[in-house]
Subunit: 203 residues, 2 copies
DNA sequence: GTCTATATTTGGATAGAC
DNA sequence: GTCTATCCAAATATAGAC
């Protein structure tokens, strides 16, 4: 029997779930372990059976920020890149799905809340959120340049230009949704961006 | 005589200065009134002779976030817009100066730290930081379209594309400088952006 | 206006019974 | 594993002497 283990895991998962919700709404300092505990119906001291301290809860929660399934394998890149616009369309579709996905939204909020309070998050932001995406995009643009599908230039620069707007849209969407405001005006912004950008680089 | 008033104002200004530095580094919750007080060499309780409470200090500090001298008067727009690239060059120069200006940098950091914790800041971000800039840029692009200097399209959309990259560069610069890292790789990004964008829209 | 002293609250963490 | 009880630290804020 593993009822005991099951219950233990159950509580631990509850803690992580509630902590994720609270951290991504009120930030690290704005979230007390008391609040986490009462929210799941246990006393504050009981938390310490599952986690050493508050920070270890946060660390486990924030682990998931950058576990986004965001890489295309090489084959897929090559195939898509030759199709030109289809490549960036594919990329943006992924990005858009992440933006509106409930879990990813929480993680993105948490990232933005703690970005200037947490050096490690800043570095991960640069490497995982920026560099990785730029690299994938730049590879695609490079191939398109070689095949004279898009105008020549620095692929990394082109990728930078492309990803920056995606980030900005995502930030705005996140802010609006945080206040339960409509994102109608922004929902088509992703596609508009693709169209505008493609028009800017195609040959 | 207004020595007393002078001293009062002096302390008040000191408080605001120190509070700005601390809030923009540790955020609202991460900054205690104690720390503000000791930093300027007075006891914590003495602060309450100048401000009602902690929040009122924050409010006075955050007032300055959006007092950036960022609008061009209509005449200047018209003149610059007809010159095409000179217009966006001018805009970006302003933006770049703000990005690297010590005071504006603090204010931007404060904005990013508190953006998801403060609804009013979010709304001001949208109206003052986004809408206002989009409007100015869109007017310029509109005139360029009418004069067949740039390709036709939605001026607001074009402005959105343009400003989003500026914001992203600014954010990255701010993060790097926060960790005292080199911004060499980004210092020319503003100009690269202008070049890339102009190449994308010019006729 | 600033100081000392103090009230009050909140939050993180531990000890020990069940 | 959870509970009650308790400790400790930090932080906001006020009262009253100088």
């Amino acid at each position: 029997m593993n009822t005991e283990q099951y219950r233990k895991t159950g509580t631990k998962q509850k803690i992580l779930k509630v902590a994720t919700a609270l951290f991504s709404e009120y930030g690290y300092k704005g979230t007390s372990v008391r609040k986490i505990a009462t929210e799941i119906g246990i006393k504050q001291s009981a938390l310490y059976n599952h986690f050493e301290n508050k920070e270890s809860i946060f660390l486990e929660v924030s682990k998931d920020i950058f576990t986004t399934p965001f890489t295309f394998d090489d084959e897929e890149i090559k195939q898509s890149a030759l199709k030109g616009k289809a490549f960036i369309n594919k990329f943006v579709l992924q990005y858009k799905l992440l933006t509106f996905d409930k879990n990813n939204e929480k993680m993105f909020r948490l990232l933005m809340i703690e970005l200037l309070q947490n050096k490690e998050l800043r570095e991960q932001f640069m490497s995982e959120f920026h560099d990785k995406n730029v690299k994938v995009l730049a590879e695609g643009f490079f191939m398109m340049m070689q095949n004279s599908i898009v105008r020549s230039g620095d692929p990394m620069m082109m990728a930078y230009e492309f990803i920056s707007t995606l980030f900005y849209i995502r930030l705005q969407v996140t802010l609006l949704r945080f206040d339960s405001k409509s994102t109608d005006m922004l929902s088509t912004q992703f596609e508009k961006h693709v169209d505008f950008f493609w028009e800017s680089i195609k040959l």
